[in-house]
Amino acid sequence: MKRTLPLFLTFVVGMFPIFAFFVPHRAVSNLNQQLDTWLVIVAAFALPLGVVNLVGSNIDKIKRKQRGWPYSVVLIAGLCIMAFYGIVGGEQGFHPYFQYMFVNMVSPLQATMFSLLAFYVASAAYRAFRARNIEATVLLAAAIIVMMGRIPFGDMLTGGKMTPISEWIMTKPNAAAQRGIIIGAALGAASMQIRVILGIERTYLGKGQE
């Protein structure tokens, strides 16, 4: 029962939207809409699950005094303080302190982390971007053209030719390659979903239940 019931529920809930897609009857459509509403509620439970997991693993780290454990203390303190002001602040969590901490702490910290990328990218590009073979040379040439196409200097130097060339690279070879990746990933995801619905893939049931 412990294994059969989740497998049965997964099968029914997984198959029903597919059935509803092909059967546009009002009753079927209404039930499908109801399922979508439940999905919003069920998906929201992933959040506390993540919090429990994060807190558990960091408390464990602090208890064992593992390397970098003071960071775990900061993480848990930050989580508790933000969550406290979020909960007392109302439905959307906008207590003045919550917004103050977000604007003056979270926002600058994240912006700083992201800004540092410019320095690392410059250093990495200098060290690693070498025309070692034909493939690397093609990649290098395309990268330089696209980079030049992203800035006004490119057009100023080439009399307005760089943007069209850069756009051509993005809309033709790039879009073709991206399409291949997207279709491949979608087929992979679809096959995984079929495996889950049919009960072939059971790892989500947890250890010992597969």
Binding site: V40, A131, I144
Partner: protein, 289 residues
């Protein structure tokens, strides 16, 4: 030996040059010209074709890490919509600060216009669950967001009474970091047929060209360049926008000012790549000899 030294130049020198390159245009803006491209014009023209009876949904699907690229985009699009008196519904699907970005930008830009909250625009706030609320809004926006960002019931708002689901929305614009923009294109456009446009960081832009080419998206604003192109189109078309962007505080925030910084840093990176490759070939030739 000298060439080898140059090839393995101290990274702090690179950091210093990038820092100088980024600082100079901030202190003394250059004002480089911006040429709008067709993916940006796609969204601009679509909005130009809408009027006060139409409604647009903007989803704030990014956090502070993408703020420098996406905030100017959000401001330019909101200004365009408000100038044309198009009704705007704001939502946030990104959990790490999407709603705070929405509060900040919508709050700031809406004050520039004479608008009535709940009639001309509404900020519905954040809803957890990613694709689930996105899909459920195809049936009823009010069911997914019974209250707005401040907890006010949405059933009393004329805008939400009139705009029930995607059928009443003309365009969905996702300002996205990560995968959420793709969900709007491959889930909401595909299943509900509503036009979708995405504004994303420059690093995410390449993947969206596939959706743009297939017709699943009507427009794409890629990074700071996309934002600056939109600002340029807006400034050229509307005197009100020209006035707004001429204000010193707005000029500082604008993507066109940011483009000066990006241009210089790109030039530095390209120069380093060319220099590094030249040194590499010189060293390889001398080693062969």
């Amino acid at each position: 030996m000298k060439v080898e030294k140059l090839l393995y130049i101290d990274r702090r020198i690179i950091y210093l040059l990038v820092a100088i390159g980024a600082l100079i245009p901030i202190i003394r803006p250059i004002g480089l010209p911006v040429v709008p491209t067709s993916p940006v014009k796609g969204l601009f023209d679509k909005i130009e074709g809408l009027g006060p009876d139409d409604a647009v949904m903007i989803s704030f699907d990014y956090g502070p890490s993408s703020e420098p690229e996406l905030n100017p985009m959000a401001a330019a699009i909101l200004r365009h919509l408000f100038i044309r008196r198009i009704r705007v519904i704001v939502v946030a699907i990104f959990p790490l600060g999407g709603v705070s970005m929405a509060i900040q930008e919508v709050g700031r830009v809406s004050k520039e216009f004479d608008l009535e909250y709940g009639v001309d625009f509404v900020n519905l706030g954040y809803k957890d669950g990613g694709q689930a609320p996105m899909k459920a809004m195809g049936v009823s926006i009010q069911d997914v967001f019974p209250a707005d960002v401040d907890g006010r019931p949405t059933r009393d708002m004329p805008l939400i009474q009139e705009v029930k689901n995607y059928e009443d929305i003309d365009v969905v614009i996702s300002l996205a970091t990560g995968v959420i923009g793709e969900w709007w294109a491959n889930l909401i456009n595909a299943q509900f047929g509503v036009d979708v446009a995405v504004g994303c960081t420059a690093v995410s832009a390449p993947k969206y060209y596939a959706y743009l080419r297939s017709g699943q998206m009507i427009g794409l604003l890629g990074g700071l360049k996309g934002a600056s192109e939109y600002e340029k189109l807006l400034i050229d078309r509307y005197p009100k926008a020209r006035e707004l962007y001429a204000r010193p505080d707005e000029a500082k925030r604008s993507a066109m000012t940011g483009m000066d910084v990006q241009s210089i840093v790109h030039i530095i990176i390209i120069a380093f790549i060319i220099f590094g490759n030249t040194m590499y070939f010189i060293l390889r030739r001398s080693q062969r000899r």
